[in-house]
Amino acid sequence: MGFWSFIKKSLIFYRRTNLSVVLGVAVSTAVLLGALVIGDSVRYSLRKLVFDRLGQTEFALQTGDRFFRAQLADELAEQLTTKTAPLLHTRGIAIAADGVSRVNKVQVFGIDERFGAIGDVAGTFANLAPNDIVINQRLAKRLNAVTGDEVLLRIEKLDAMPKDAPMATTTEISIAQRFTVAAIASEKQFGRFSLRTSQVEPYNAFLHLSTLSQALDMVGKANVLLVAERPQAHLTSDDLRSALAESFNLADAGLSLKSVLQHTTLECRSDRIFLEPVIARRLESEFPQAQSILTYFVNQLGLGRRTTPYSFVSAANPGKIEVGEDEIVVNKWLSDDLGAQIGDSLQLTFFTIGPMRLLREDTTKLRVKAIVPLSGPYADRDLMPDFPGLSDEENCRDWQAGIPIDYDRIRDKDEAYWDDHRGTPKAFINLKTAQKLWGNRFGDLTAIRFQGVERTDLEQRLTKLLDPESGFIFQPVREQGLRASDQAISFSQLFIGLSFFLIVAALLLTGLLFVFALEERAEETGLLRAIGYQTSHIRRLILSEGLCLALLGSFLGLVLGLLYENIVLFALKTIWRDIVGTSALHLKVNASTLAIGLLAGILMSIVSMWLMTRRHAKRSIADLQKGAIRVDAVSSIKHARSLLLGCASTAAVIVILLAVNPARSGAAAAAFFAAGTLSLVAGVAFSNAAMARLLKTASPRLSIKSIGRRNNARRRLQSLTLIGLLAAGVFITFTVGANRTGLVKNVHERSSGTGGFALWGETALPILYDLNSPAGQDFYGFAGGDASFVQFKVKEGDDASCLNLNRIANPQLLGVQPDELVRRGAFSFAALVDEVDAEQPWHSLNVAYENDVIPGIADQTVIVWGLGKAVGDTLTYVDEKGGEFHIRLVGGLANSIFQGNLLISKDHFIDKYPSVGGDRVLLVDTPPDQIDDVAQKLTWAFQDQGLDVTPTAARLAEFNKVTNTYLSIFMILGGLGLILGSIGLGIVVVRNVLERRGELALMRAVGFQNRSLRRMVLSEHIVLLYAGIAIGALSSLIAVLPSLLTPATELPYATVLLILAAIIGSGVMWIGLAAKMALRGELLPALRNE
């Protein structure tokens, strides 16, 4: 017989006791392994989602409001020898045939077969007829649409000219068209396609590229280009850069060359009307002889009482007349109309556009320098830019300009001029003057003319000057997506944390069961020591046996863990869906995770066994041989110390309760948590003192109950451990669980997470005007009453709120006028960098740091959890022109409605993204009694903009739901841990009863009935259960007092009571069962053994 043979025989012989140890190990391993596999599964699912939403896409180019040739995709495909797909992307609103179901935030894509090829689902997107639409499953579900149904799609019109630019049209920013659902794309059919990193499925609508481009007047254009992976050789950013440089031409930059002045001159124009300043300066520098032109539409030219309405004035110098900065050259027609002579002072009236298309009518006076004929170079109608709604119209009365036009002022002679000369400028001014008057953030030139240059030669030279990387950056979307999923919230850590009590309870149970098994064999240990086994040898024996049990238990735990993981995964897809936001979760089991889980399970169990049994091998040989019952010693000093500790802690609790006002948030919460903890300490200390007293003093009246109570005192440390563990478990589970936040009632306070705003609105299509102005309200037909608005510009990015599991690098940017929030004193800050004025933190957004760094403010939870950053850190973004800039996080908002977004000042926003037109997020201030009315009016007025209005309190509650779900999980798993802990109580009962069988047999012998003995055993242990729960519950009650008194808190009373009842029920049941089992059979033989 050898060492292992001995162990094997012991394992088999004590199989029943060992089985319970194996089960204990299995539970702890299962919970741990389950948590690890959940982490793997979530990570795997997020990775899978990257492929589901991107297909074979490896790189993507998104140019937003800049449009390149769709043909560029083919050219790149040829150069890179891989698949590419051009897409036209815009936003839209989908309305079901019944007109009732409506989805506002729909991603509308113009696609063709090339898109299907990248998604590996050619069939779904092939042969789409002009009125066909493919929608994804989520959209179909929301619209309740099936194949063959009709869907009305309102699509945001795309325009190369930025919507905030002067003369941009604002009346037709969307078009509506009916389509027939040709197919519903599942996630396997590329229905999830999205370039945003999120596990939440978007609402997608796919039209044929030609259909959408025709509808949007963007034929041959695209604003998204997908590049698929290249199987034969890995694609790099450099490959894409060089390929793009090779194919990039003027059209891709939105530029074109037009032959003017009888083909003697070439004119470079921009689709955006105003040449971008960077390009303009580059061309001016490269071609110093070129003629820069700025032509503008003025409302009126006046001299005295005589006026000429709506005319073009150009800063060109066709006749080479030197025009001073305060001078103007007028044509004969204008001179006649106004009766102007050389030297007269003409007044020019024109609109300039401020933020939110705020029109300002300015005037300037210029002296007539010369009068020129309306012929030759002065009859150049090409000087008029292609202002939409103007240049194409046959009649002046058909003008649809982006400014208000008083058609009554247009005279017959003006119509005649338009008929004969179109927009030929009636006057010419100095370029500097023109730029000063009409230059704007979109540019200060409308054209540049080149003389004596060959078109081909000029095209080549101009193309060379263009930097394709200016706004044309291919993003490695797959790599970014995979990185975001790899760095996503670790559900392994999360669930290990949430299951902490369950794991600890299972380990304690394992340890207890193991000790119990050993104590049953105390004599064996005694014998081994007596016959010369060293302590280390015995410990090795014990731990080897433990190791075998741990191995068996861990393997069983592996099976249970997978079962547990399946249950949790199911819960995450259903009742806990709030925290993952998707049901696309798949089970993934990695061999390495299993190995880690198994090893960790074994290690934890062994450590637990070692901790619980380390004294066993050292016990007195004589005691072990006799199986002697240990009585924990207690000294008077220790007794007094316990009393003192209990009294001091109680006094501190009373002081805190009297001194701190629980209604004050922040400091009060911390103080009351400390009070709760002290109360816990006091409870355990008093229990210790009470038991010590019981042991030292005889009962005045001997009764079966007093004997029971004294039995608890006999194993004081064990009893105290039980009370302490139960109390701590109840305390932490309920204190943490009670921090759930529900619908807040202090929403009207400016300092709350709503900022005191009543409504949060988001539109699919931009709002171009200031809704606080009568003009803005009038434009949208909204009568807002007392409502006022704060409007935000939006640069779409990834959602960095707790609703996104991925680690986000670039959250959505919101541009706000900080003064609007300063004026209202809205929102509270959880963290600020040192240099920010704590009194007026919003002002810090106006600061501009050096090195292209601008300040930003985000929700503190976003900073910490969504971005993995801290206040003071910076994020890197790419601006509209492809340049990198940095946003320094200068403040973290306390739990607010801005979760998921990063706020910067509107000025910085416009500087970085000048093309982003209008605002798409608004906060609404309105008296509480008008909220519903205002919400209804807004929804009605902005239905074509696809406005979604949510009460701010509901939005905040939506975010809180995630936290609440986590807390619920913690409470449920903690409750399960406590229930498991109550099984431990049952084990203690069995152990105590078996240890005292002789004593109990004696009581039987002297006439006690078995029932009385059971009652005694029950009562003595139930006291421990009740004491633990009472101390924990009372301490928890003190700790959560501020939350109880805060209206923001929605205490889960039902859950708390249910868990408490389950713990008590389970505890009583296990104690009862254990007592029954231990007292079963004949007790009297135990006397003989004694």
Binding site: M1, G2, F3, S5, F6, K9, S10, I12, F13, Y14, E523, E524, G526, L527, L528, R529, A530, I531, G532, Y533, Q534, T535, S536, H537, S620, I621, A622, Q625, V631
Partner: protein, 223 residues
């Protein structure tokens, strides 16, 4: 071989701060191959004395010399080694491990030496000598009280100890089985020249040994 010099042992009182003296000033010399009995009433300290002799329990004062060495100045592992290889124990209760067979129970002391295989023939031989050769693969539960105690005696002898300490070895046996066991112990004492110290209530058993001591109020006197 074994010498006790002024050995005393006291325990703290569970109810007072006083000490309870169990053994007082005990001196004793035991030569190799001797057999002696220690008798005395319950609570007289017989088992405590045996435990002290057997390196199981440290005396409060005095010296226990084992083959010229102060026993309790030795390290724990040295004491364990002495208990394992030089001293054999027989207790009132047999303390057989229920999960093992008779043969395996006997071989347990050989495990720390890792010589179970070499010791097996001796175990079989000893078991045959005590009449248990037909019960080698029985479990303790399948044996009578006397048989179990005989297994315990063989277990004590397996490592060829120099001394066997028996604490009330017949205490749980009927008279016939008790005398039978006494004969086995004495037979082994003579055959293996092993020193035998027996603590017992039974004068019949005590008289079978060469020397008898009585322990009275903690003091050892020749009977």
């Amino acid at each position: 071989m074994l010498r006790l010099l002024n050995v005393a042992k006291s325990y703290p009182s569970p109810s007072t701060s006083d000490e309870v003296m169990v053994l007082r000033d005990i001196s004793l010399s035991v030569t190799s191959g001797a057999s002696l009995a220690i008798v005395g009433p319950s609570g007289s300290g017989k088992s405590t004395l045996l435990n002290i002799i057997g390196a199981l329990e440290k005396p409060t004062s005095g010296v226990v010399e084992w083959e010229g060495n102060d026993l309790y100045r030795l390290a724990e592992h040295e004491l364990a080694s002495i208990r394992n290889q030089q001293i054999g124990f027989v207790f009132q209760l047999h303390h057989l491990l229920p999960q093992l067979t008779v043969l395996e129970n006997v071989l347990i002391p050989t495990l720390p030496l890792k010589n179970a295989q070499e010791a097996e023939p001796r175990a079989r031989e000893l078991l045959k000598r005590v009449g248990l050769d037909l019960h080698l693969h029985h479990r303790p539960a399948q044996l009578s009280g006397g048989e179990r105690q005989r297994v315990a005696v063989v277990r004590a002898m397996i490592n060829q100890p120099k001394m066997v300490l028996a604490d009330e070895p017949t205490g749980s046996l009927d008279h016939l089985s008790a005398m039978n066991l006494a004969d086995i112990l004495l037979g082994l004492n003579e055959a293996e020249n092993v020193t035998l110290i027996v603590v017992t209530h039974s004068l019949d058993l005590a008289k079978k040994l060469k020397t008898v001591y009585a322990l009275d109020y903690g003091q050892l006197k020749k009977f």
